[in-house]
Protein backbone atom coordinates (compact mmCIF):
# COMPACT_ATOMS: atom_id res chain seq x y z
CA UNK A 1 0.00 0.00 0.00
CA UNK A 2 2.53 2.52 1.12
CA UNK A 3 4.82 3.82 -1.55
CA UNK A 4 7.67 3.77 0.95
CA UNK A 5 7.43 0.06 1.66
CA UNK A 6 7.67 -0.84 -2.01
CA UNK A 7 10.96 -2.41 -2.99
CA UNK A 8 13.16 0.03 -4.85
CA UNK A 9 14.19 -2.68 -7.29
CA UNK A 10 12.72 -3.00 -10.75
CA UNK A 11 9.09 -3.99 -10.58
CA UNK A 12 9.16 -6.38 -13.49
CA UNK A 13 11.70 -7.99 -15.75
CA UNK A 14 11.92 -7.69 -19.51
CA UNK A 15 12.20 -4.67 -21.77
CA UNK A 16 10.70 -1.51 -20.34
CA UNK A 17 8.46 -0.33 -23.12
CA UNK A 18 7.37 2.73 -21.20
CA UNK A 19 10.93 3.98 -21.56
CA UNK A 20 12.10 2.47 -24.83
CA UNK A 21 9.10 3.28 -26.99
CA UNK A 22 9.22 7.06 -26.40
CA UNK A 23 13.03 6.98 -26.47
CA UNK A 24 12.93 5.38 -29.91
CA UNK A 25 10.44 8.00 -31.06
CA UNK A 26 12.68 10.79 -29.79
CA UNK A 27 15.70 9.19 -31.47
CA UNK A 28 13.76 9.05 -34.73
CA UNK A 29 12.93 12.76 -34.47
CA UNK A 30 16.58 13.56 -33.78
CA UNK A 31 17.63 11.57 -36.87
CA UNK A 32 15.00 13.38 -38.95
CA UNK A 33 16.28 16.73 -37.69
CA UNK A 34 19.92 15.86 -38.39
CA UNK A 35 19.17 14.50 -41.86
CA UNK A 36 16.64 17.21 -42.73
CA UNK A 37 18.38 18.50 -45.89
CA UNK A 38 18.49 14.97 -47.34
CA UNK A 39 15.09 13.81 -46.08
CA UNK A 40 12.96 16.81 -47.01
CA UNK A 41 11.53 16.31 -50.50
CA UNK A 42 11.81 20.03 -51.36
CA UNK A 43 13.40 23.20 -50.06
CA UNK A 44 11.59 24.56 -46.99
CA UNK A 45 11.74 28.12 -48.36
CA UNK A 46 10.95 27.43 -52.03
CA UNK A 47 7.81 29.40 -52.84
CA UNK A 48 5.29 28.57 -55.54
CA UNK A 49 2.63 31.20 -55.75
CA UNK A 50 0.58 29.06 -58.15
CA UNK A 51 0.25 26.36 -55.47
CA UNK A 52 -0.77 28.40 -52.44
CA UNK A 53 -2.87 26.84 -49.64
CA UNK A 54 -3.24 23.52 -51.46
CA UNK A 55 -4.55 20.52 -49.49
CA UNK A 56 -2.46 17.42 -48.65
CA UNK A 57 -1.76 15.24 -51.66
CA UNK A 58 -1.96 18.11 -54.17
CA UNK A 59 0.18 17.66 -57.28
CA UNK A 60 1.39 20.61 -59.31
CA UNK A 61 3.88 20.37 -62.19
CA UNK A 62 5.46 17.18 -60.93
CA UNK A 63 5.65 18.40 -57.31
CA UNK A 64 3.62 16.43 -54.79
CA UNK A 65 2.60 18.33 -51.65
CA UNK A 66 2.12 15.33 -49.34
CA UNK A 67 0.92 17.44 -46.43
CA UNK A 68 -0.28 20.38 -48.47
CA UNK A 69 1.26 23.80 -49.00
CA UNK A 70 1.24 27.01 -46.99
CA UNK A 71 0.18 30.56 -47.83
CA UNK A 72 3.28 31.11 -49.98
CA UNK A 73 3.05 27.74 -51.71
CA UNK A 74 5.89 26.20 -49.70
CA UNK A 75 5.82 22.44 -49.12
CA UNK A 76 4.51 21.85 -45.60
CA UNK A 77 6.20 18.46 -45.15
CA UNK A 78 9.61 19.93 -45.98
CA UNK A 79 9.03 22.78 -43.57
CA UNK A 80 7.98 20.38 -40.83
CA UNK A 81 11.14 18.31 -41.29
CA UNK A 82 13.31 21.42 -41.12
CA UNK A 83 11.29 22.77 -38.20
CA UNK A 84 12.35 19.75 -36.13
CA UNK A 85 15.90 21.13 -36.23
CA UNK A 86 14.88 24.39 -34.57
CA UNK A 87 12.80 22.75 -31.84
CA UNK A 88 15.49 20.23 -30.94
CA UNK A 89 18.40 22.64 -31.29
CA UNK A 90 16.81 25.24 -29.02
CA UNK A 91 15.68 22.66 -26.46
CA UNK A 92 19.03 20.83 -26.31
CA UNK A 93 21.11 24.01 -26.11
CA UNK A 94 18.98 25.75 -23.52
CA UNK A 95 18.70 22.65 -21.33
CA UNK A 96 22.46 22.10 -21.40
CA UNK A 97 23.25 25.76 -20.69
CA UNK A 98 20.72 26.23 -17.89
CA UNK A 99 21.47 22.76 -16.50
CA UNK A 100 25.20 23.46 -16.26
CA UNK A 101 24.78 26.88 -14.67
CA UNK A 102 21.94 25.83 -12.36
CA UNK A 103 23.54 22.59 -11.19
CA UNK A 104 26.89 24.27 -10.50
CA UNK A 105 25.36 27.12 -8.52
CA UNK A 106 22.98 24.81 -6.68
CA UNK A 107 25.78 22.45 -5.65
CA UNK A 108 27.92 25.35 -4.49
CA UNK A 109 25.06 26.75 -2.43
CA UNK A 110 24.33 23.37 -0.90
CA UNK A 111 27.93 22.46 -0.12
CA UNK A 112 29.56 25.76 0.79
CA UNK A 113 26.52 27.13 2.67
CA UNK A 114 27.00 30.54 4.32
CA UNK A 115 26.85 33.67 2.17
CA UNK A 116 27.01 31.71 -1.11
CA UNK A 117 23.91 29.79 -0.08
CA UNK A 118 22.06 32.95 0.94
CA UNK A 119 22.83 34.86 -2.21
CA UNK A 120 22.25 32.04 -4.69
CA UNK A 121 19.05 30.78 -3.13
CA UNK A 122 17.54 34.26 -2.70
CA UNK A 123 18.21 34.96 -6.38
CA UNK A 124 16.64 31.60 -7.23
CA UNK A 125 13.54 32.52 -5.21
CA UNK A 126 13.28 35.84 -7.02
CA UNK A 127 13.60 34.28 -10.48
CA UNK A 128 11.08 31.59 -9.64
CA UNK A 129 8.52 34.11 -8.44
CA UNK A 130 8.18 35.61 -11.90
CA UNK A 131 6.00 33.37 -14.08
CA UNK A 132 8.44 31.67 -16.47
CA UNK A 133 6.75 32.67 -19.71
CA UNK A 134 6.56 36.32 -18.63
CA UNK A 135 10.24 36.34 -17.67
CA UNK A 136 11.15 34.86 -21.05
CA UNK A 137 8.94 37.37 -22.85
CA UNK A 138 10.37 40.44 -21.14
CA UNK A 139 13.91 39.21 -21.74
CA UNK A 140 13.18 38.71 -25.43
CA UNK A 141 11.63 42.17 -25.46
CA UNK A 142 14.98 43.53 -24.26
CA UNK A 143 17.35 41.36 -26.30
CA UNK A 144 15.22 41.11 -29.43
CA UNK A 145 14.04 37.93 -31.17
CA UNK A 146 16.18 35.42 -33.05
CA UNK A 147 17.54 31.89 -32.69
CA UNK A 148 20.55 32.61 -30.46
CA UNK A 149 18.62 35.06 -28.30
CA UNK A 150 15.86 32.53 -27.69
CA UNK A 151 18.43 30.00 -26.46
CA UNK A 152 20.07 32.61 -24.23
CA UNK A 153 16.71 33.74 -22.86
CA UNK A 154 15.56 30.23 -22.05
CA UNK A 155 18.86 29.41 -20.35
CA UNK A 156 18.75 32.66 -18.42
CA UNK A 157 15.22 32.11 -17.19
CA UNK A 158 15.34 28.37 -16.41
CA UNK A 159 18.62 27.83 -14.49
CA UNK A 160 16.98 28.46 -11.07
CA UNK A 161 14.87 25.32 -11.48
CA UNK A 162 18.05 23.19 -11.65
CA UNK A 163 19.72 25.20 -8.91
CA UNK A 164 16.88 24.53 -6.48
CA UNK A 165 16.92 20.77 -7.09
CA UNK A 166 20.73 20.55 -7.06
CA UNK A 167 20.79 22.54 -3.82
CA UNK A 168 18.33 20.26 -2.04
CA UNK A 169 20.07 17.12 -3.24
CA UNK A 170 23.50 18.44 -2.31
CA UNK A 171 22.36 19.30 1.22
CA UNK A 172 21.49 15.64 1.69
CA UNK A 173 24.67 14.27 0.15
CA UNK A 174 27.00 16.68 1.94
CA UNK A 175 26.33 15.05 5.27
CA UNK A 176 27.24 11.57 4.05
CA UNK A 177 30.23 10.11 5.88
CA UNK A 178 32.30 9.65 2.73
CA UNK A 179 31.90 13.30 1.78
CA UNK A 180 32.92 14.41 5.26
CA UNK A 181 35.85 12.03 5.18
CA UNK A 182 36.99 13.38 1.82
CA UNK A 183 36.82 16.92 3.19
CA UNK A 184 38.64 15.83 6.34
CA UNK A 185 41.41 14.29 4.25
CA UNK A 186 41.96 17.61 2.54
CA UNK A 187 39.99 17.39 -0.69
CA UNK A 188 39.03 20.82 -1.95
CA UNK A 189 35.47 21.86 -2.72
CA UNK A 190 35.65 21.56 -6.54
CA UNK A 191 37.01 18.02 -6.28
CA UNK A 192 34.41 17.00 -3.70
CA UNK A 193 31.57 18.43 -5.77
CA UNK A 194 32.83 16.81 -8.96
CA UNK A 195 33.86 13.42 -7.60
CA UNK A 196 31.48 12.81 -4.71
CA UNK A 197 28.44 15.06 -4.93
CA UNK A 198 27.73 15.21 -8.67
CA UNK A 199 27.58 11.42 -9.23
CA UNK A 200 24.99 11.23 -6.49
CA UNK A 201 22.72 13.95 -7.77
CA UNK A 202 23.10 13.38 -11.50
CA UNK A 203 20.06 11.09 -11.54
CA UNK A 204 17.76 13.69 -10.09
CA UNK A 205 19.24 16.34 -12.38
CA UNK A 206 18.59 14.14 -15.41
CA UNK A 207 14.94 13.88 -14.45
CA UNK A 208 14.67 17.66 -14.15
CA UNK A 209 16.49 18.15 -17.44
CA UNK A 210 14.17 15.75 -19.24
CA UNK A 211 11.02 17.41 -17.96
CA UNK A 212 12.54 20.82 -18.73
CA UNK A 213 13.36 19.66 -22.26
CA UNK A 214 9.67 19.20 -23.04
CA UNK A 215 8.93 22.58 -21.52
CA UNK A 216 11.69 24.24 -23.58
CA UNK A 217 10.22 22.81 -26.79
CA UNK A 218 6.90 24.36 -25.82
CA UNK A 219 8.53 27.66 -24.82
CA UNK A 220 10.39 27.99 -28.11
CA UNK A 221 7.21 27.18 -30.03
CA UNK A 222 5.25 29.61 -27.86
CA UNK A 223 7.73 32.45 -28.39
CA UNK A 224 7.85 31.76 -32.12
CA UNK A 225 4.05 31.60 -32.15
CA UNK A 226 3.98 35.09 -30.65
CA UNK A 227 6.49 36.27 -33.26
CA UNK A 228 9.25 36.62 -30.65
CA UNK A 229 11.25 33.53 -31.51
CA UNK A 230 12.95 32.32 -34.63
CA UNK A 231 12.26 34.74 -37.46
CA UNK A 232 10.86 33.92 -40.91
CA UNK A 233 11.56 32.43 -43.37
CA UNK A 234 13.25 29.85 -41.09
CA UNK A 235 10.77 27.05 -40.45
CA UNK A 236 9.72 26.78 -36.80
CA UNK A 237 6.72 24.74 -35.74
CA UNK A 238 5.44 27.51 -33.49
CA UNK A 239 5.67 30.14 -36.22
CA UNK A 240 3.96 27.80 -38.69
CA UNK A 241 1.10 27.34 -36.23
CA UNK A 242 0.78 31.07 -35.89
CA UNK A 243 0.46 31.45 -39.68
CA UNK A 244 -1.98 28.55 -39.84
CA UNK A 245 -4.21 30.30 -37.33
CA UNK A 246 -5.06 32.87 -40.00
CA UNK A 247 -6.17 30.19 -42.47
CA UNK A 248 -8.19 27.93 -40.17
CA UNK A 249 -11.38 28.15 -42.16
CA UNK A 250 -9.74 27.48 -45.54
CA UNK A 251 -6.55 25.50 -44.89
CA UNK A 252 -6.75 23.43 -41.70
CA UNK A 253 -3.54 21.52 -42.45
CA UNK A 254 -1.17 24.47 -41.94
CA UNK A 255 -1.88 24.72 -38.20
CA UNK A 256 -2.75 21.09 -37.55
CA UNK A 257 0.45 19.30 -38.61
CA UNK A 258 3.06 21.48 -36.84
CA UNK A 259 0.97 21.21 -33.67
CA UNK A 260 0.84 17.45 -34.03
CA UNK A 261 4.64 17.33 -34.38
CA UNK A 262 5.07 19.45 -31.25
CA UNK A 263 2.62 17.30 -29.35
CA UNK A 264 4.34 14.04 -30.33
CA UNK A 265 7.80 15.38 -29.47
CA UNK A 266 6.74 16.77 -26.09
CA UNK A 267 4.71 13.68 -25.25
CA UNK A 268 7.70 11.42 -26.01
CA UNK A 269 9.97 13.53 -23.82
CA UNK A 270 7.43 13.66 -20.99
CA UNK A 271 6.94 9.89 -21.12
CA UNK A 272 10.70 9.43 -20.79
CA UNK A 273 10.80 11.96 -17.94
CA UNK A 274 7.97 10.22 -16.16
CA UNK A 275 9.67 6.87 -16.42
CA UNK A 276 13.01 8.24 -15.21
CA UNK A 277 11.28 9.93 -12.30
CA UNK A 278 9.70 6.64 -11.23
CA UNK A 279 13.12 5.08 -11.42
CA UNK A 280 15.15 7.65 -9.52
CA UNK A 281 12.51 8.82 -7.10
CA UNK A 282 9.82 6.20 -6.48
CA UNK A 283 8.00 8.44 -4.03
CA UNK A 284 7.49 11.38 -6.35
CA UNK A 285 5.49 9.42 -8.91
Amino acid sequence: MSAVSQPLARRRAGPRWSLWAPAALLALLVVIALAAPWLAPYSPTQQNLLARLKPPGFVSRGVTYWLGSDELGRDLLSRLIHGARISLLVAFSSVILSGLVGTTLGMMAGYLRGPVETVVMRVVDIFLSVPAILLAIITVAVLGPGLINVIVVLALTRWPRYARVAYGQTLGVSNMPYVRLAAFMGARAPRILWRHVLPNIIGAMTVVATLEFGLMVLFEAGLSFLGLGVQPPTASWGAMLSTGRNYLATAWWIATFPGLCLFVLVLAVNLIGDDLRDRFDPRAS
Partner: protein, 309 residues
Amino acid sequence: MAGFLARRLAQALVTIFGVATLIFFLQRLTGDPTYLLVPETATPADIDAMRRSLGFDRPLVVQYASFLADLLRFDLGRSVIQNAPVTTIIASRVPYTLALAAGALLVACGIGIPVGIAMALWRDSVFAKALSGLVLAAQSLPTFWSGILLILVFAVTLGWLPPSATGGISHLVLPSVALGLLSMATFARITRTALLDELSRDYVRTARARGVLPGRLLGRHLARNAAIPVITVAALEISNLLAGAVIVETVFAWPGLGQVTVQSILARDFLVVQGVVLLGAFVTVALNLAADILYSVVDPRIRLTGARA
Protein backbone atom coordinates in the same frame (compact mmCIF):
# COMPACT_ATOMS: atom_id res chain seq x y z
CA MET B 1 0.49 32.87 14.45
CA ALA B 2 1.31 36.59 14.43
CA GLY B 3 5.02 35.84 14.33
CA PHE B 4 4.56 33.39 11.50
CA LEU B 5 2.53 35.94 9.54
CA ALA B 6 5.02 38.73 10.06
CA ARG B 7 7.96 36.56 9.04
CA ARG B 8 6.21 35.31 5.94
CA LEU B 9 5.05 38.81 4.98
CA ALA B 10 8.56 40.21 5.33
CA GLN B 11 9.87 37.41 3.12
CA ALA B 12 7.26 38.21 0.46
CA LEU B 13 8.20 41.90 0.50
CA VAL B 14 11.88 41.07 0.08
CA THR B 15 11.04 38.88 -2.89
CA ILE B 16 8.95 41.62 -4.53
CA PHE B 17 11.82 44.04 -4.03
CA GLY B 18 14.14 41.46 -5.60
CA VAL B 19 11.88 41.06 -8.61
CA ALA B 20 11.76 44.82 -9.13
CA THR B 21 15.56 44.89 -8.99
CA LEU B 22 15.80 41.98 -11.43
CA ILE B 23 13.54 43.75 -13.92
CA PHE B 24 15.41 47.02 -13.53
CA PHE B 25 18.70 45.39 -14.43
CA LEU B 26 17.16 43.22 -17.12
CA GLN B 27 16.13 46.40 -18.96
CA ARG B 28 19.74 47.49 -18.98
CA LEU B 29 21.04 44.19 -20.31
CA THR B 30 21.74 45.75 -23.69
CA GLY B 31 23.04 48.99 -22.25
CA ASP B 32 20.64 51.84 -22.89
CA PRO B 33 16.96 51.19 -22.12
CA THR B 34 15.93 54.22 -24.18
CA TYR B 35 16.04 52.02 -27.29
CA LEU B 36 13.29 49.85 -25.79
CA LEU B 37 10.94 52.81 -25.68
CA VAL B 38 11.34 54.56 -29.00
CA PRO B 39 9.92 53.54 -32.38
CA GLU B 40 12.42 52.12 -34.83
CA THR B 41 12.03 55.23 -36.98
CA ALA B 42 13.26 57.61 -34.24
CA THR B 43 16.15 59.93 -35.13
CA PRO B 44 19.23 60.21 -32.87
CA ALA B 45 17.92 63.62 -31.71
CA ASP B 46 14.58 62.04 -30.74
CA ILE B 47 16.40 59.35 -28.83
CA ASP B 48 18.52 61.92 -27.00
CA ALA B 49 15.45 63.95 -26.06
CA MET B 50 13.70 60.81 -24.90
CA ARG B 51 16.69 59.71 -22.86
CA ARG B 52 16.75 63.03 -21.02
CA SER B 53 13.01 63.21 -20.50
CA LEU B 54 12.95 59.71 -19.02
CA GLY B 55 15.98 60.41 -16.88
CA PHE B 56 18.10 57.62 -18.38
CA ASP B 57 21.05 60.03 -18.52
CA ARG B 58 21.25 60.12 -14.73
CA PRO B 59 23.59 57.87 -12.71
CA LEU B 60 22.36 54.28 -12.42
CA VAL B 61 21.87 54.50 -8.67
CA VAL B 62 19.62 57.53 -9.01
CA GLN B 63 17.58 55.81 -11.72
CA TYR B 64 17.24 52.72 -9.57
CA ALA B 65 16.05 54.74 -6.58
CA SER B 66 13.50 56.65 -8.62
CA PHE B 67 12.31 53.40 -10.24
CA LEU B 68 11.66 51.91 -6.79
CA ALA B 69 10.05 55.12 -5.54
CA ASP B 70 7.67 55.13 -8.51
CA LEU B 71 6.79 51.51 -7.86
CA LEU B 72 5.94 52.29 -4.24
CA ARG B 73 3.45 54.85 -5.52
CA PHE B 74 2.09 52.26 -7.99
CA ASP B 75 3.35 54.46 -10.80
CA LEU B 76 4.42 52.22 -13.66
CA GLY B 77 5.19 55.07 -16.00
CA ARG B 78 3.45 56.33 -19.09
CA SER B 79 3.13 54.55 -22.41
CA VAL B 80 4.52 56.77 -25.14
CA ILE B 81 2.70 54.87 -27.85
CA GLN B 82 -0.75 54.69 -26.28
CA ASN B 83 -0.27 58.02 -24.52
CA ALA B 84 -1.81 56.77 -21.28
CA PRO B 85 -0.53 55.71 -17.85
CA VAL B 86 0.56 52.07 -17.86
CA THR B 87 -1.61 51.37 -14.81
CA THR B 88 -4.71 52.53 -16.69
CA ILE B 89 -3.86 50.36 -19.70
CA ILE B 90 -3.29 47.33 -17.50
CA ALA B 91 -6.36 47.93 -15.35
CA SER B 92 -8.60 47.98 -18.41
CA ARG B 93 -7.35 44.51 -19.41
CA VAL B 94 -7.33 42.80 -16.02
CA PRO B 95 -11.05 41.84 -15.93
CA TYR B 96 -10.75 39.88 -19.19
CA THR B 97 -7.73 37.91 -18.04
CA LEU B 98 -9.36 37.25 -14.65
CA ALA B 99 -12.48 35.91 -16.35
CA LEU B 100 -10.36 33.66 -18.55
CA ALA B 101 -8.25 32.42 -15.63
CA ALA B 102 -11.37 31.73 -13.57
CA GLY B 103 -12.92 29.75 -16.40
CA ALA B 104 -9.71 27.80 -16.87
CA LEU B 105 -9.41 27.11 -13.15
CA LEU B 106 -12.96 25.78 -13.15
CA VAL B 107 -12.10 23.45 -16.04
CA ALA B 108 -8.81 22.41 -14.41
CA CYS B 109 -10.27 21.63 -10.97
CA GLY B 110 -13.56 20.29 -12.30
CA ILE B 111 -11.79 17.65 -14.38
CA GLY B 112 -8.43 17.36 -12.62
CA ILE B 113 -9.53 16.67 -9.04
CA PRO B 114 -12.06 13.89 -9.85
CA VAL B 115 -9.55 12.32 -12.25
CA GLY B 116 -6.87 12.44 -9.54
CA ILE B 117 -9.19 10.84 -6.99
CA ALA B 118 -10.07 8.08 -9.46
CA MET B 119 -6.40 7.47 -10.22
CA ALA B 120 -5.63 7.12 -6.50
CA LEU B 121 -8.60 4.94 -5.54
CA TRP B 122 -8.17 2.50 -8.42
CA ARG B 123 -4.41 2.69 -8.69
CA ASP B 124 -2.70 -0.04 -10.72
CA SER B 125 -5.94 -0.77 -12.57
CA VAL B 126 -6.20 -0.46 -16.34
CA PHE B 127 -8.63 2.41 -15.80
CA ALA B 128 -6.09 4.39 -13.78
CA LYS B 129 -3.35 3.68 -16.35
CA ALA B 130 -5.59 4.99 -19.12
CA LEU B 131 -6.36 8.10 -17.09
CA SER B 132 -2.71 8.77 -16.37
CA GLY B 133 -1.99 8.44 -20.07
CA LEU B 134 -4.65 11.05 -20.77
CA VAL B 135 -3.22 13.33 -18.09
CA LEU B 136 0.26 13.09 -19.58
CA ALA B 137 -1.16 13.79 -23.04
CA ALA B 138 -2.98 16.88 -21.74
CA GLN B 139 0.27 18.04 -20.15
CA SER B 140 2.11 17.72 -23.46
CA LEU B 141 -0.48 19.70 -25.44
CA PRO B 142 0.77 23.09 -26.56
CA THR B 143 -2.05 25.45 -25.54
CA PHE B 144 -1.81 27.29 -28.84
CA TRP B 145 -2.39 24.03 -30.69
CA SER B 146 -5.23 22.73 -28.52
CA GLY B 147 -6.80 26.18 -28.84
CA ILE B 148 -6.56 26.04 -32.62
CA LEU B 149 -7.95 22.50 -32.71
CA LEU B 150 -10.87 23.57 -30.52
CA ILE B 151 -11.59 26.45 -32.90
CA LEU B 152 -11.36 24.09 -35.89
CA VAL B 153 -13.75 21.54 -34.41
CA PHE B 154 -16.26 23.56 -32.41
CA ALA B 155 -16.28 26.85 -34.28
CA VAL B 156 -15.28 26.20 -37.89
CA THR B 157 -16.66 22.69 -38.43
CA LEU B 158 -19.54 22.34 -35.99
CA GLY B 159 -20.33 26.03 -35.60
CA TRP B 160 -21.44 25.55 -31.97
CA LEU B 161 -19.27 28.22 -30.38
CA PRO B 162 -17.76 31.50 -31.54
CA PRO B 163 -14.11 31.15 -32.67
CA SER B 164 -12.69 34.25 -30.99
CA ALA B 165 -13.15 37.76 -29.60
CA THR B 166 -15.43 38.67 -26.74
CA GLY B 167 -19.13 38.66 -26.10
CA GLY B 168 -21.27 36.45 -23.90
CA ILE B 169 -20.22 33.54 -21.77
CA SER B 170 -20.08 31.35 -24.89
CA HIS B 171 -16.97 33.24 -26.01
CA LEU B 172 -15.24 32.18 -22.83
CA VAL B 173 -15.75 28.43 -23.23
CA LEU B 174 -13.10 27.52 -25.79
CA PRO B 175 -10.27 29.64 -24.36
CA SER B 176 -11.04 28.35 -20.85
CA VAL B 177 -10.84 24.75 -22.00
CA ALA B 178 -7.61 25.35 -23.94
CA LEU B 179 -5.98 27.03 -20.97
CA GLY B 180 -7.50 24.76 -18.32
CA LEU B 181 -6.45 21.44 -19.88
CA LEU B 182 -2.80 22.10 -19.06
CA SER B 183 -3.49 22.80 -15.39
CA MET B 184 -5.90 19.90 -15.30
CA ALA B 185 -2.88 17.60 -15.50
CA THR B 186 -1.24 19.32 -12.54
CA PHE B 187 -4.38 19.04 -10.41
CA ALA B 188 -4.90 15.38 -11.30
CA ARG B 189 -1.32 14.50 -10.40
CA ILE B 190 -1.19 16.36 -7.13
CA THR B 191 -4.60 15.08 -6.04
CA ARG B 192 -3.51 11.53 -6.77
CA THR B 193 -0.22 11.90 -4.89
CA ALA B 194 -1.83 13.64 -1.91
CA LEU B 195 -4.57 11.04 -1.63
CA LEU B 196 -2.15 8.12 -1.95
CA ASP B 197 0.01 9.62 0.79
CA GLU B 198 -2.99 9.86 3.09
CA LEU B 199 -4.30 6.40 2.17
CA SER B 200 -1.10 4.86 3.48
CA ARG B 201 -1.50 6.33 6.96
CA ASP B 202 -2.42 4.44 10.09
CA TYR B 203 -5.62 6.36 10.73
CA VAL B 204 -7.02 5.15 7.43
CA ARG B 205 -6.32 1.53 8.34
CA THR B 206 -7.91 2.08 11.73
CA ALA B 207 -10.96 3.72 10.24
CA ARG B 208 -11.33 0.90 7.75
CA ALA B 209 -11.00 -1.70 10.51
CA ARG B 210 -13.70 0.13 12.42
CA GLY B 211 -15.92 -0.29 9.39
CA VAL B 212 -16.09 3.35 8.26
CA LEU B 213 -17.65 3.38 4.81
CA PRO B 214 -15.34 4.40 1.94
CA GLY B 215 -17.49 7.40 1.02
CA ARG B 216 -17.42 8.74 4.55
CA LEU B 217 -13.71 8.01 4.86
CA LEU B 218 -13.02 10.02 1.72
CA GLY B 219 -15.31 12.89 2.61
CA ARG B 220 -14.53 13.28 6.30
CA HIS B 221 -11.02 12.03 6.85
CA LEU B 222 -9.06 12.09 3.64
CA ALA B 223 -10.42 15.20 1.97
CA ARG B 224 -9.26 17.57 4.68
CA ASN B 225 -5.73 16.20 4.89
CA ALA B 226 -5.24 15.72 1.19
CA ALA B 227 -6.56 19.24 0.53
CA ILE B 228 -3.37 20.88 1.80
CA PRO B 229 -1.07 20.13 -1.14
CA VAL B 230 -3.95 20.73 -3.53
CA ILE B 231 -4.47 24.22 -2.09
CA THR B 232 -0.83 25.19 -2.56
CA VAL B 233 -0.82 23.90 -6.08
CA ALA B 234 -4.03 25.82 -6.78
CA ALA B 235 -2.30 29.02 -5.69
CA LEU B 236 0.71 28.30 -7.89
CA GLU B 237 -1.50 27.26 -10.77
CA ILE B 238 -3.43 30.52 -10.75
CA SER B 239 -0.23 32.38 -11.52
CA ASN B 240 0.60 29.79 -14.18
CA LEU B 241 -2.84 30.33 -15.68
CA LEU B 242 -2.31 34.08 -15.78
CA ALA B 243 1.02 33.54 -17.55
CA GLY B 244 -0.43 30.90 -19.87
CA ALA B 245 -3.12 33.40 -20.80
CA VAL B 246 -0.49 35.34 -22.78
CA ILE B 247 -0.52 32.69 -25.48
CA VAL B 248 -4.15 31.58 -25.24
CA GLU B 249 -5.36 35.17 -25.53
CA THR B 250 -3.38 35.57 -28.73
CA VAL B 251 -4.97 32.43 -30.18
CA PHE B 252 -8.51 33.57 -29.36
CA ALA B 253 -8.00 37.33 -29.82
CA TRP B 254 -9.09 37.75 -26.20
CA PRO B 255 -8.42 41.35 -25.12
CA GLY B 256 -6.72 40.62 -21.82
CA LEU B 257 -3.27 41.22 -20.34
CA GLY B 258 -1.63 38.65 -22.60
CA GLN B 259 -2.83 40.32 -25.75
CA VAL B 260 -1.72 43.76 -24.60
CA THR B 261 1.70 42.33 -23.66
CA VAL B 262 2.27 40.83 -27.09
CA GLN B 263 0.98 43.93 -28.86
CA SER B 264 3.23 46.10 -26.71
CA ILE B 265 6.32 44.04 -27.49
CA LEU B 266 5.68 44.27 -31.20
CA ALA B 267 4.98 48.02 -30.87
CA ARG B 268 8.14 48.50 -28.72
CA ASP B 269 6.03 49.76 -25.83
CA PHE B 270 8.32 48.35 -23.18
CA LEU B 271 6.82 49.98 -20.09
CA VAL B 272 3.55 48.10 -20.59
CA VAL B 273 5.44 44.78 -20.86
CA GLN B 274 7.37 45.64 -17.73
CA GLY B 275 4.15 46.54 -15.92
CA VAL B 276 2.52 43.23 -16.78
CA VAL B 277 5.57 41.27 -15.68
CA LEU B 278 5.73 43.15 -12.37
CA LEU B 279 2.03 42.53 -11.84
CA GLY B 280 2.50 38.83 -12.66
CA ALA B 281 5.32 38.53 -10.13
CA PHE B 282 3.36 40.44 -7.51
CA VAL B 283 0.35 38.17 -7.96
CA THR B 284 2.54 35.07 -7.77
CA VAL B 285 4.17 36.20 -4.54
CA ALA B 286 0.79 37.21 -3.08
CA LEU B 287 -0.76 33.86 -3.98
CA ASN B 288 2.15 31.97 -2.47
CA LEU B 289 1.71 33.98 0.69
CA ALA B 290 -2.02 33.29 0.70
CA ALA B 291 -1.38 29.57 0.22
CA ASP B 292 1.03 29.52 3.16
CA ILE B 293 -1.47 31.30 5.39
CA LEU B 294 -4.32 29.04 4.31
CA TYR B 295 -2.01 26.11 4.90
CA SER B 296 -1.33 27.15 8.45
CA VAL B 297 -5.05 27.53 9.09
CA VAL B 298 -5.87 24.08 7.73
CA ASP B 299 -2.91 22.38 9.36
CA PRO B 300 -1.76 23.95 12.63
CA ARG B 301 1.43 21.84 12.59
CA ILE B 302 2.78 24.15 9.90
CA ARG B 303 2.81 27.18 12.16
CA LEU B 304 6.39 27.01 13.21
CA THR B 305 5.79 29.14 16.29
CA GLY B 306 3.53 26.40 17.58
CA ALA B 307 1.26 28.84 19.40
CA ARG B 308 -2.22 29.93 18.48
CA ALA B 309 -2.89 33.63 18.23
